[in-house]
């Protein structure tokens, strides 16, 4: 009863679907954004494979068992005269007698899409308009993220939680990208994207519970603070490993493609994460498989103490997209409007055209890498100060809101006070809740605990009973 699925977005004439009922053929449609598409590769994809004609340039086919009819044509040249052309998988390649090496980069860096300048002033109208309601909501959540980060960071310094990761300076990335997505879009975060989860409805109390690892934590006290996950919010649990979530997102996109669901997956990672093997292969895969996934790179200048100059020598991350055959764009990571528009456009492209999209957001890591780091040891306080004040995405957005007449200083004071109170309350409550029971050490390793884990649990309980003073008190069983 299995049904037939094809990965290519083009019509495949050469395949003979045995079960015609659910043959998947995606139709091309253009994205709404004004990116420069590679016109040849899109329009010219496989029309007829059986041709065998020397004159017809045969482009690369997905269905490989048929495509090396092209090998007959490798030696053929165009009859029309003019420069010699090699008919190679992927498209015709012109020959040249110039011994020219491609430079390591373009003369000018790839331009950065931006709408709001540092003063919150619109520089263009080429963006997706948002309603006052949405704008105020976005601002509220950016402020909420800021407040949550500040106070949780303080809590860690006070010794109330052991660890925390702030997203200071990246509030626009967090909130604006989340606002541009739908709840159906699975999110595969690195660890600096708690704002996405916040936007989706994870409450401050739930955040606090996870950080305290208490009984109400939906991860049952199993992970470090800030390693959130919520199936309800389609936000996949953070793992400490770098960039392992990038291939996961491709797998999720594959799943969406198989089920033909009107959604795309999105994954976030930093500049450092792009050096990993997983990043490379995931982009490559997504391109080959034509998977609906958004790769969102938060290029914040630092990977712990490694500046981007020591991380790579390319012009950031955006140029890498082209190497894999992926549409890419560079945006101002501190401009909420630009991010919102870019993610909206990317989502549309990913879903309707069934293709991956790479977004590089240029921003700055305003805080330390985590609470285990002191970034003043490797970067100047002036640099941090400049980015945090002059480029602050939250204040920039607020300035725009105020210019539009949707916000004012009274609303600001009220909001900040309310948020502060809510966060403090969440922490106070979470602190009082007891920790998860011993049994939670052994559940969820498998779907049901096997006998060896039962044995180990019994042994542990016996040990605790025999030596109650060696173990934390109030260990509920």
């Amino acid at each position: 009863m299995g049904f037939y699925l094809s990965k290519s977005r083009t019509v495949m004439h050469n395949l003979k679907p045995k079960l015609g009922s659910l043959g998947v053929m995606f139709h091309q449609s253009s994205g709404i954004a004004s990116f420069s598409h590679h016109q040849e590769s899109q329009s010219g994809l496989i029309k007829n494979l059986g041709a065998g004609s020397c004159n017809r340039p045969t482009l690369f086919t997905i269905w490989r068992s048929e495509h090396f009819k092209a090998e007959k044509q490798l030696d053929c040249k165009q009859n029309s005269g003019g420069p010699q052309v090699l008919n190679f998988p992927g498209g015709n390649v012109k020959f040249t007698s110039e011994l020219d090496f491609l430079p390591e980069g373009l003369e000018e860096r790839v331009h950065c899409y931006r709408i709001l300048d540092e003063n919150g002033q619109l520089t263009s109208s080429n963006f997706v308009q948002i309603s006052d309601e949405l704008a105020v909501r976005m601002y509220t959540y950016m402020a909420m993220l800021q407040t949550m980060d500040t106070i949780f960071y303080e809590a860690q310094r006070q010794g109330r939680i052991s660890f925390y990761v702030t997203a200071i300076g990246e509030e626009a990335i967090n909130i604006a990208s989340a606002a541009a997505l739908q709840l159906d879009d699975p999110v595969f975060p690195q660890y600096r994207e708690s704002g996405v989860l916040l936007w989706r409805g994870f409450t401050l109390q739930e955040f606090a519970n996870q950080c305290f690892g208490n009984k109400n934590d939906n991860c049952k006290g199993r992970q470090m603070p800030a390693h959130y996950g919520s199936v309800k919010h389609n936000y996949f649990t953070v793992a400490s490993t770098v960039a392992t979530q990038v291939p996961h997102a491709v797998g999720a996109a594959y799943s969406l493609k198989m089920d033909r669901i009107n959604a795309c997956s999105i994954t976030y990672f930093g500049d450092g994460g792009t050096s990993t093997g997983d990043f490379h292969a995931a982009l490559n895969f997504a391109a080959v498989m034509e998977a609906p996934v958004i790769f969102f790179c938060r290029n914040n200048g630092w990977a712990i103490s490694t500046p981007v100059g020591d991380q790579f020598r390319s012009d950031g991350i955006v140029v890498r997209g082209q190497a894999y055959g992926v549409h890419s764009i560079r945006v101002d990571g501190n401009d909420a409007l630009a991010i919102y528009s870019a993610v909206r456009a990317a989502r549309q492209m990913a879903i309707t055209e069934q293709r991956p999209v790479l977004i590089e957001a240029l921003t700055y890591r305003g805080g330390h890498h985590t609470t285990s780091d002191d970034s003043t040891r490797y970067r100047s306080a002036e640099e941090i100060e400049w980015w945090r004040v002059a480029q602050c995405p939250v204040s920039r957005f607020r300035k725009w809101l105020e210019k539009e007449g949707w916000w004012n200083s009274d609303a600001e004071t009220e909001l900040r006070a309310s948020l502060r109170k809510q966060v403090l309350r969440a922490i106070q409550v979470a602190e009082q809740v007891e920790k998860p029971p011993v049994a939670d050490i052994f559940t969820d390793v498998y779907d049901a605990p096997p006998s060896n884990l039962h044995e180990q649990e019994t042994t542990l309980l016996e040990t605790i009973e025999k030596h109650p003073k060696e173990y934390p008190p109030n260990f509920s069983c």
Binding site: V24, W63, D184, G229, A239, Q245, G251, S255, V288
Partner: protein, 404 residues
């Protein structure tokens, strides 16, 4: 975790049923179907198997597999069955599961139109399309990661490592994500992935392609490991692994793919955690798995001629061990010989020795003997390679020593 027999009239449920999130946005093309199957326990009790809690509360089921002495026909039904090779049995199991559940998909290098390096997926891409039987670029860590992502969002992928040794590249994903995410997410995300591939020492494939990954993976919490050795158990374990909600690593052996056997026509699924009684006996318990089973059985012929009565158990489940079956055997024979292909250090035999010593020490009349390969990379030269593997003659001597 008893054997599951598909009831009549049952049909597959849509992929998204496991992920309530996607259910709401399902297109009308995927119909909602009821899943109806019966769980048959070896003690004869029978109940409809949807209540997982109920199933879990019961003890490990023993010997759901028929324990006939002839390994050739383990057919349960009265029909004669059909003959095929082990790799075909794997494919049959795979195909049946793909027919039954549209969420099942395959990914790996050359699995698509090429049909797989060992032909396990031959013909599947033509039948199911090149998306459902997906050819991947050469990036094991990443396509395993992809499989994990797909599994977390409702699919049931089978990731093929062209050779088990290549999965060393996927260790990060297997250990840190596959094994852990169900736990660290508080049970919110499950990873019903099957990772399979051929391993073990082949015929002069060189050191890198002759690895026994079960030793490295056995420590990873959260995964299950099984090793097949006959066409019958290959198909049954493949099906069980696909249906399991846990990540399962299925170890096949390069040299066993062309084993011919007659298997039942009717559908059957084996228990992932159960060992297989190959030959009941009285004098000594020989524990083995995968290819070494055949070396053991060959040695058993000699031993029987010399008047010994070995009990041979193919442990099949490498993680967790079926200590119930093994324990019963030890209590009967009081002597244990483990024969494995792993290296001496840190192999399955080492863990099994520890487990038996811990649990059944009082029942042992002699120290456990473990025959393994030496701690050397597998050499290429045929003679050298043969000498690194446990041979039947060694097994015979070991039994004779043990039974003195």
């Amino acid at each position: 975790m008893a054997a599951i027999v598909q009831g009549i009239g049952s049909t597959a449920a849509p992929c998204a049923s496991s992920n309530k999130f996607l259910l709401s946005s399902l297109g009308s093309s995927l119909l909602e179907k009821k899943r109806n199957f019966f769980v048959v326990r070896s003690d004869g009790k029978c109940y409809t198997g949807l209540n997982q809690q109920q199933r879990r509360a019961q003890n490990v089921v023993t010997n759901a597999v028929a324990t006939k002495e002839e390994k050739a026909s383990a057919a349960v039904g009265s029909k004669p069955g059909h003959e095929l090779l082990l790799f075909e049995a794997l494919r049959e199991g795979l195909e049946e599961e793909m027919d039954r559940d549209p969420c099942v998909c395959v990914m790996g290098e050359d699995v698509g139109h090429y049909g797989g390096s060992y032909k396990v997926t031959k013909g599947l891409a033509e039948k199911y399309g090149d998306l459902r039987v997906l050819d991947t670029p050469i990036a094991e860590n990443s396509f395993t990661g992809m499989g994990i992502g797909a599994a977390m969002t409702g699919l049931r992928p089978i990731v093929e490592g062209m050779n088990m040794g290549f999965l060393l590249l996927a260790f990060n994903q297997i250990s840190n994500n596959c094994g852990m995410l169900h736990y660290t997410s508080g049970g919110q995300f499950k990873i019903p992935i099957v990772i399979r591939g051929p391993g073990g020492v082949g015929r002069q494939l060189g050191a890198e392609h002759s690895q026994r990954l079960e030793s490295y993976f056995q420590s990873i919490p959260g995964i299950q490991m099984v090793a097949c050795s006959t066409a019958y158990n290959a198909k049954g374990l493949m099906k069980a692994a696909i249906r399991s909600d846990n990540p399962v690593i299925l170890f096949e052996h390069v040299l066993l793919y062309n084993l011919k056997e007659r298997i039942p026509d009717e559908e059957y699924v084996l228990n992932l955690e159960e060992a297989e009684m190959v030959r009941p006996g009285e004098h000594v318990t020989i524990l083995t798995y995968s290819r070494m089973r055949y070396h053991v059985m060959q040695a058993a012929k000699t031993l029987v001629n010399n008047g010994y009565d070995p009990e041979v158990i193919d442990i099949r489940s490498l993680k967790p061990f079926d200590l119930y079956t093994i324990g019963n055997s030890v209590k009967k024979t009081h002597r244990v010989l483990i024969v494995e292909e792993c290296m001496r250090t840190g192999g399955i035999g080492a863990s099994l020795t520890a487990a038996i010593n811990e649990n059944f020490h009082d029942h042992l009349d002699a120290p456990i003997v473990c025959l393994s390969s030496q701690d050397v990379p597998t050499p290429y030269a045929g003679t050298l390679e043969e000498w690194t593997l446990v041979q039947p003659a060694q097994i015979v001597s070991a039994v004779e020593q043990l039974c003195l």
